[in-house]
Symmetry: D5
């Protein structure tokens, strides 16, 4: 099933650049892995913010939670999840 996932990154502005860069690099790698696993299908930036909108697919909400919690930035992220229903127009 598919989920719409919004994230707001609350990493403090005074985080040292080195820490921030390491986190970003690790985040990108984990996201790439989630893409390869078919969990992360699309990702957009909310313009102007350190925030994203993503389209995820997972077996159930618990599996989605585990995927999101595996992101290195997760401890600093405010995440909201919305379960989407397949629209009859797309059921085939």
């Amino acid at each position: 099933m598919e989920f719409l996932v919004r994230t707001e990154n609350r990493l403090p502005p005074d985080t040292p650049d080195e820490t921030r860069d390491q986190l970003r690099k690790a985040e990108r790698e984990r996201a790439l892995q989630l893409r390869e696993d078919g969990v992360l299908k699309r990702l957009w930036r909310v313009p102007g913010r350190n925030a994203t909108v993503g389209l995820y697919e997972a077996d159930d909400p618990a599996a989605l939670h585990d995927a999101l919690a595996s992101l290195p930035m997760w401890k600093w992220m405010d995440v909201t999840v919305e379960a989407l229903a397949t629209h009859p127009q797309e059921r085939t």
Copy 2:
């Protein structure tokens, strides 16, 4: 998977008693059917309101939508659905 479902019934206050009674009776029958099908697991009233909180189980959000939309009162209901993840404490 399980869902927390809130409903607010917006049936207009000036609905004739007969119509209201027929709708309620049909609603109860359909709810009973959903219980027997294992879709509606628990139902509470929000005290003071014509509103409910329910615990539902369905294969996915589309199946849940179809179950909710099959309720005779659905056209008048404001429904919000929250997909719940099994908590590790309850995974066995």
Copy 3:
């Protein structure tokens, strides 16, 4: 550019079935056309509601507005649009 579009359908519950059916049929046809034009890319139902989340693509917000306003149900819909930025992970 891509847009996330949410719609809430406010068609009154006492709309005659015939009117409702005609509107739905016309809506589906227009939506199909927008898919063929590459404007409507994905559509989901918000479970439990007469509401959708859609992924649209259009040249600019004015073109998107014209597409949405061409939907037969538009007069009864509460629509919110969010412009999405391509995420660097997807820029290639």
Copy 4:
């Protein structure tokens, strides 16, 4: 009587792992005790968040408060409680 209880865990992201692990272990033990006492009946995770939805049973709101405040994480939790009324469909 039954209560729907939502918790958001606000433990700071920079809490040392050891402290966090000790708190989690103590939390799990206290939660297990509340289950055995029949106070905590169901617990779900809000997917994507360090947050839960729980179904509790207690004699009254004061007894529920004491149970919640006995959780080791309580000082860091934002908790909201909703008292539920038994639905006539379930009164027997």
Copy 5:
């Protein structure tokens, strides 16, 4: 147990005076009865609005719901209920 109950009266402004007066009279009588039964303990007006704040006492949320739903104006009222816990300062 005690509850804080807020009501907003949505009776349409164009309700005929006679209907309104009959409803108000019946409302006052029912409220008086609830006072005598020890259910309605205090009642205030929200200044400037057709709205009240009340302190109620009932065995549980279901009993409170039945008391509120017995008010002749109930169909037109938007009611919110908050369960209160006895404060340790008042436990004796």
Copy 6:
């Protein structure tokens, strides 16, 4: 005149126990004094939270403010005040 007063206590979770205990003791003593002065008439806990709902009586909003600001925890409290009007049912 009477006021409904809500407080949320924002004392940081990492406040040393000794400081917290001293503040609580001083808070209780000051609250007791306000009860004896007829200012604090009732006090409830919001279940699950470090928060209260109180019924206060004071000559006017300025006198109420001085009473609330005299509480030792006041600097850490988020307080909201609602002025209540005597309901005609209780005017005698």
Copy 7:
């Protein structure tokens, strides 16, 4: 004591001009009376809206309520009242 009072006028847009004019004239006369009685001290328009912000003075919230409810438009108005405390800078 002084109150800040906000009003939103919800008179339906399709109200006949004659009814609207009569109501406005009666409203103005009653407001003038409230000024002469020292109850209505200042009145502003919220620009762009059929809404006002007013500074009122009354003995207590019940007296204020009676004054506001005496306005001919009251049945159509959404009114919110905020009790203000004299600031120490103005206490003399």
Copy 8:
């Protein structure tokens, strides 16, 4: 001084086309006049909605109110106004 003005048009969906067209035509004419008077400086559509964002200039909020209230659609519009301060970067 400049104002940011948002409008939501609440004209009922079942308004006859002829009435709607007449109102739109009159609205456009009045808006053109406000442009010529230097009151309406820019106008945008909120994509997907029957709503606008506008940049207005007027001597003061009362003059702006009169300009907005002169629009034929005004009775059906929900309007919010925000007074803007010239930014030092643009003060010359």
Copy 9:
């Protein structure tokens, strides 16, 4: 023109008393000056909070901003400004 100005003072609770007292004294002096300049016309306390409601007069929003930003506490204040339109009842 007149403005309604709300302030919430976010000075941290652990600010040393000496700093707090110096800021308050400087704040009072600056406010007195703004009164003498005819900018600050009335000031109220929001009961229970470290917050105020004020009635200000200034040539335009930029002049008001400069006056507010000249307050020694401004860096810690959350300020919201509402431009008010003279009501026809008070235009003379």
Copy 10:
């Protein structure tokens, strides 16, 4: 395409003056550059706040994001972006 951009500056009040001044100077220089590039078209202050409303033009939301994120204060700013559609009155 044009965007309405709101910023709230969350730079902590206890930031040393020197740091603050350097940031402001760098911010002004970058903003000037964005003006020269035709990205920043208008900028206003929200009176009373360390906040702005701006009118921006960019090829798409991603280009706008890059422009905003290039501001030296960006890490401390809460930014919200609204994509605007050209109004038919201004299409020529």
